[in-house]
Symmetry: C2
């Protein structure tokens, strides 16, 4: 069994966060229907502005090869190269206007991200990995799946079990093997003014 | 101790998802520095497009009343009414352009949502609640905190321990007591074409 490249946190965080990782290498092993239901049930309970739940997903599994190919064809080529190996693909879409009054929802895209966060947590809890992509062909999604004008196809998600990166092209293999890096908290948690590190999350004090 | 209004999932989901809830009523109990560090450490390990980590937060706790008031003043009045009781406030900001080349980052706002999702999970794991708001005064944030033009202040987060809603205005009290509702999966998980419920997450089949 291949292993997750865990985070290396500076402060304690829950295992479901440190074990989440976006690999390029996916195993052919299928994802059960029960797992898929729970992944999207987790999406369902994400918070959203005015409880609008502006997210929607176009889902395809390898069990339906023609549908899978249609969704795969909506990714940019460099993403197709590795995402084709995942057993499940989804396109993340977002309704840009409120359903009740048609006005723009300024939180819509943010809330699609919140929903995806929930999906990743549930996936991690079930031993699954998710690799999200922004590199999709939104116009092709619109055309192939008759997506309404007020809805923006924004992301794609490859979902499945991690694999050893041996079969990946060399550049992607290197990405799966590279250390995971993040900015320190002092670079993005400010107090008082922009760029002034917050003492509430620093080691001093 | 006041209790969380849990989700009522139709399919099994992890406790950290079903226990997450956005109350209006917060206790005065302070959040420890250790907890705050872990909350933002969880943010730090969120995924983001090209690992850009486009998020930043302006943070204030009640321990510094003047700073707390400044952040509070950046919320719309209807949010100030209840958020003033929380021990911690943060403004969620997002860099709209990539740091390495200045080009627009189409995933930036989505990825701020992903980061907030991680923060909510870590908060839930620590018995804390988070209530996010889109109702802020972005221009006031820019002015008070010297936020650069390429950065968008988008959200606010109230963080703390849940309280009984007795001290809330009646309309907010009712919201804290109301049942939690969500659309069924069949309304937002599609396969083949828009609005066609996916059989991969339905009870039939």
């Amino acid at each position: 069994m291949s292993s997750i490249k865990r985070a290396t946190p500076a402060y304690p965080i829950h295992d479901l966060i440190s074990q989440r990782w976006s690999p390029y290498a996916f195993s052919a092993r299928a994802v059960s229907k029960a797992d898929l239901c729970s992944l999207f049930e987790a999406v369902r309970w994400a918070p959203s502005s005015y409880n609008e739940q502006p997210w929607a997903y176009i889902l395809a599994t390898r069990d339906e090869p023609a549908e899978f190919e249609r969704v795969l064809s909506c990714l940019v080529e460099s993403n197709q190269d590795w995402a084709k190996a995942a057993p499940v693909l989804a396109i993340g879409c977002v309704s840009l206007n409120f359903q009740r009054n048609g006005k723009p929802n300024p939180a819509a895209i943010h809330d699609l991200g919140l929903a995806a966060g929930n999906l990743c947590v549930e996936a991690t809890a079930r031993g699954l990995c998710v690799h999200q992509m922004i590199g999709i062909l939104p116009d092709k999604v619109r055309e192939l799946f008759s997506v309404p004008a007020s809805v923006q196809p924004l992301t794609a998600l490859a979902i499945g079990y991690v694999a050893e990166p041996d079969d990946l092209p060399e550049n992607l293999k290197q990405r799966d093997l590279a250390p995971r890096l993040r900015k320190p908290l002092t670079e993005f948690i400010f107090s008082g003014r922009w760029d002034s590190p917050s003492r509430s999350v620093s080691d001093g004090d």
